[in-house]
Symmetry: C2
Subunit: 154 residues, 2 copies
C-alpha cells in the first residue's frame, strides 16, 4: 500500500497482517472450490450452491431457493437455473413445502454428499488435523475470534 493511506501504527499493522493472512486462507478455499468444479464438470456456482446446501443440512436448517439465492449473492432467476442444473445432475431434489405452498424445500441427494466428501474430505481432514494439533484453549481462542469476526463483518 502506498504511503499516506494509513497512519503508521505498529499495533494496527500487526492486526492488519493477521487479517490479510485470514483473507489468504479464504482465497485458497475459494480456489479449491474452483478445482472441484473443474474435476467434476460442474460450474463454480453450482459447487458453491452444493456446499451451502450441505452446510444447511448439517445445521438442520430449511434450504429454500430464496435462501440459496441470498447465500450466493445472486438473483432468484439465476438460482432457479442452478437448482435445475443440480437437479438434472441428480444432486438435489425439490420438494414442496408443507407450511408454505409457494415455497419448496431443497434436499441434497446421497450421491451429492458422497461426491462432496470424496473431494472436500481430504481437504477438511487436513484442516481438522492442523486444528487438532492445538490445545483446547487455543482452539477456543480462535473459535471466539472467528465468531467475533463474523459479527463484525455484518
Amino acid at each position: 500500500m502506498r504511503a499516506g493511506v494509513t497512519p503508521h501504527d505498529p499495533e494496527r499493522a500487526a492486526a492488519l497482517e493477521l487479517v490479510h493472512r485470514l483473507r489468504d486462507v479464504a482465497l485458497r478455499l475459494d480456489l479449491a472450490i474452483g478445482e472441484f468444479a473443474k474435476t467434476t464438470g460442474l460450474h463454480g456456482t453450482d459447487v458453491r450452491a452444493l456446499v451451502r446446501l450441505l452446510d444447511a443440512e448439517r445445521a438442520g436448517a430449511e434450504a429454500t431457493p430464496t435462501w440459496l439465492a441470498q447465500q450466493l449473492g445472486m438473483t432468484s432467476q439465476a438460482t432457479t437455473a442452478v437448482i435445475h442444473r443440480l437437479e438434472a445432475a441428480g444432486h438435489v431434489e425439490r420438494r414442496r413445502s408443507r407450511t408454505d405452498g409457494r415455497s419448496s424445500h431443497l434436499q441434497v441427494s446421497d450421491s451429492a454428499i458422497a461426491l462432496g466428501w470424496q473431494f472436500f474430505g481430504p481437504l477438511l481432514d487436513q484442516m481438522v488435523a492442523t486444528t487438532s494439533t492445538l490445545t483446547k484453549s487455543d482452539q477456543a481462542i480462535i473459535a471466539n475470534y472467528l465468531t467475533a469476526l463474523t459479527q463484525a463483518i455484518d
Copy 2:
C-alpha cells in the same frame, strides 16, 4: 450430515466445528466482494482481480497476467478480458516488462486504490478492531494457525 459418514469423535467434531466457522468467515468475505461489485458496477471477477493486484502491490510482488490468471483460477484469455475491462475503467495500467519482452507488469492506479479503501476500508477497520481486542499472544496463536492452515490446504 447424515449418520455413518463420520465416526463419532468429540475432539474431531470440535475441530471440524472450528473449520466450519472459518469457512463461514470466508463465505462472508466473498459476499462482501459481491456487494462491492454491485455498488461499483464492476463484475465480481474484476473486483476479485483488483483485490489480488492490490495484495501483490502490498507484498511488493510483480503482477503479470499469467500470475493473475492463476490467482483467479481462470484461463489466460478470460484474464486478458478482465485486464481490458479494468484498463478501460482506469483502474489498472499495463506496462511492458524490462526483463522479459513477452510479459507485462500490471500497475493498479491511485483511483483503484482509493476506490478499494472507500469500500473495504470500513470492513477492514472492523476486522482490525476485532483483532486488536485480543492480546498479542492470542494474535500470535491465530497467526500461526492460519499460516499452518495455508500450508495444509496446498
